[in-house]
């Protein structure tokens, strides 16, 4: 019987102890797995959202997209950018607050997003608006809009029907006449929150809804490069337009500086804590088990079992407990992450499509490595006990005991 088989039989011999160890590792491992998914999850998810529609550069009036002043002279700026050789197209994006009247119940507060693509004459442009149609079709003309799923549910509006909306474009309390818009589809807006209502259409539709009472300003320009995002961003900055051009990598980097790094730090601390708990738990279980079997181990040594063999038995036990618990920790961690993700995404202002916990190969590799380290560390002390066990003294003590 080899060391693994022997270790398995030792575990089966004390099923309660084995179950306790495996469940403990599964619970701690699930937390560890979640911490590892959390440590880089936001960054990966944000990167995915930014890259989703092919726009690889964000141009804003402030340091971060949608967090500073609007871009003035937006049309001219967009045309200048679109005319740069390294740029394929630019998309003007303006956001206005709006209220949607309902036959019954209070009006719904929503965001109205207006977009318009600019590209240099003769330059092929196959660009997507920053939303994904899930039902119906995209907008083709002014006066047509798509709405997100929460709004479709709350307002009972489906593709083909109309929507009456009052935009708040200039002053917060300004009363504008209602505009009736035709809903052509239901779309997912990746940066909208779980309970946020969003309407998307052309920039012309937004301007109409605002009664034409808007400056030539946009909140953001999305730019798609010809493949060299860094070069295109540098060209935009060099154009002296008074705007801040950032590649998606740079946006992610700034978000990391602005707050995402806290998640990484927190997850690093919690990872260290969870690994410590796992090590302590398994060390205690194995040490108790070894101490209960000192007589047997001494007898095996007297019968000729080598020191390395009894050490391997203990290590195999640790590996079996941690390995089984570690395997269980993956589905458990996945379920836990899904629940925590839903809770965190319910926070105001968090995009529904943003995920805090993202599974990546690196996280899985670190998870496995940390569990292997846990098995080794946890077995270190009990292995030391059996490797230094004085055979004769132990046999004598067992008889006296």
């Amino acid at each position: 019987m080899n060391a693994v088989g022997f270790a398995w039989r030792s575990l089966v011999r004390q099923p309660a102890r084995a179950a306790l160890g495996v469940l403990g590792v599964a619970a701690v491992g699930a937390l560890l797995f979640d911490m590892l998914m959390l440590s880089n999850g936001l960054v990966l998810s944000m990167r995915d959202l930014l890259d989703r529609y092919g726009w690889d550069i964000r141009v804003a009036g402030g340091d971060l997209p949608l967090q500073g002043p609007r871009i003035r002279n937006a049309s001219k700026t967009a045309d200048t950018i679109a005319g740069l050789p390294s740029v394929r197209a630019a998309l003007l994006l303006r956001i206005a607050d709006a209220r949607i009247d309902r036959p019954s119940g209070p009006p719904l507060t929503t965001q109205l997003v207006g977009v318009e693509v600019r590209s240099a004459p003769g330059r092929a442009t196959r660009t997507s608006p920053p939303w994904t149609i899930v039902k119906g079709r995209d907008v083709n003309n002014a006066g047509e809009v798509v709405i997100n799923t929460p709004l479709s549910s709350a307002s009972h509006v489906a593709p083909g029907s109309t929507l009456t909306l009052r935009a708040l474009c200039v002053a917060e309390r300004e009363a504008l006449p209602p505009t009736t818009l035709r809903v052509t589809g239901v779309a997912e807006f990746p940066f909208s929150g779980v309970d946020e209502y969003v309407v998307g259409g052309t920039l012309a539709t937004l301007k109409t809804a605002c009664g034409g009472n808007v400056e030539d300003e946009v909140d953001l320009l999305l730019v798609t490069s010809n493949g060299d995002a860094d070069g295109a961003a540098a060209a935009i900055r060099a154009a002296g337009l008074g705007v801040n051009a950032m590649t998606n990598d740079e946006v992610v980097g700034r978000f990391q500086q602005a707050g995402f790094s806290y998640f990484r730090q927190i997850s690093s601390v919690l990872t260290a804590v969870t690994v410590s708990f796992a090590v302590l738990l398994i060390t205690v279980l194995l040490t108790v088990s070894v101490n209960q079997r000192l007589g047997e181990i001494a007898a095996l040594r007297a019968l000729g079992f080598s020191r390395s063999r009894v050490v391997k038995d203990v290590l195999s036990e640790s590996v079996l407990i941690v390995g089984t618990g570690g395997l269980l920790s993956l589905p458990l961690g996945w379920l836990l992450a899904a629940g925590l993700d839903d809770i965190l995404k319910a926070m105001p202002g968090v995009p529904a499509e943003l995920h805090f916990f993202v599974l990546e190969r690196e996280a899985l590799a670190i998870h496995v490595s940390l569990l292997v380290l846990t098995a080794l560390l946890a077995a270190a002390y009990p292995m030391r006990i059996v490797s230094r066990l004085p055979i004769a003294a132990t046999l004598r003590d067992e008889v006296i005991g």
């Binding site: 001494a298 095996l300 007297a302 000729g304």
Partner: protein
Amino acid sequence: MIVDAQNVSRLFKMPAGPVVAVRDVTLQIREGDHIAIRGPSGCGKSTLLHMLGCVDAPTSGSLLFAGQDVSRLSDAKRSSLRLKQIGFVFQRFFLLPMLTARENVELPLSEAGVGKTERRTRVTELLDYVGLAARADHRPSQLSGGEMQRVAIARALANKPQLLLADEPTGELDVATGEQIAMLLDRVNADGTALVIVTHDQALAGRARRLLMMRDGAIEHEATA
């Protein structure tokens, strides 16, 4: 000559001062010997047995096992020596409770690297030899004390040792069962294995051809049958 011990002593350092457990013992064990060691509790019988079995080393004197100086052997070599040439039988059996009788007997064979087919044949022979062929698949908890000691003897004989050491082999058994174990040990010895028994049991000791009486760590006298 299996064991040649010359003036071996074993000293333990205790908080209250050093204790000499075995003092200047000279002893030879030859093939086929049947030796019993008797003496009052604490006289050093078990310590001497442990040194003869290479699980403990003398603090002075020399101990040769099959011509090899045990004190010069590494731990791994001593383990290998015990595995292949020495068998141990303990008062408390020390069978592994999660293994069947068959698996317990198979352990030393497996550790010695004996092939599966040969192991199975040998285990069957051994369990038959100790009269437990029918109980091969029983766990220790399903066996009586005498049966457990029989399994322990079979395990000790697994690798055909030259020397079998038994520390109070009947200490936990009733008189009748102890008698059966004594008869089994006689048979083991008659079949060619040298036997050294540490015991308080006068009847068991009386079956040996050499009787060593110990007192205060030393062999007080030796009687030969």
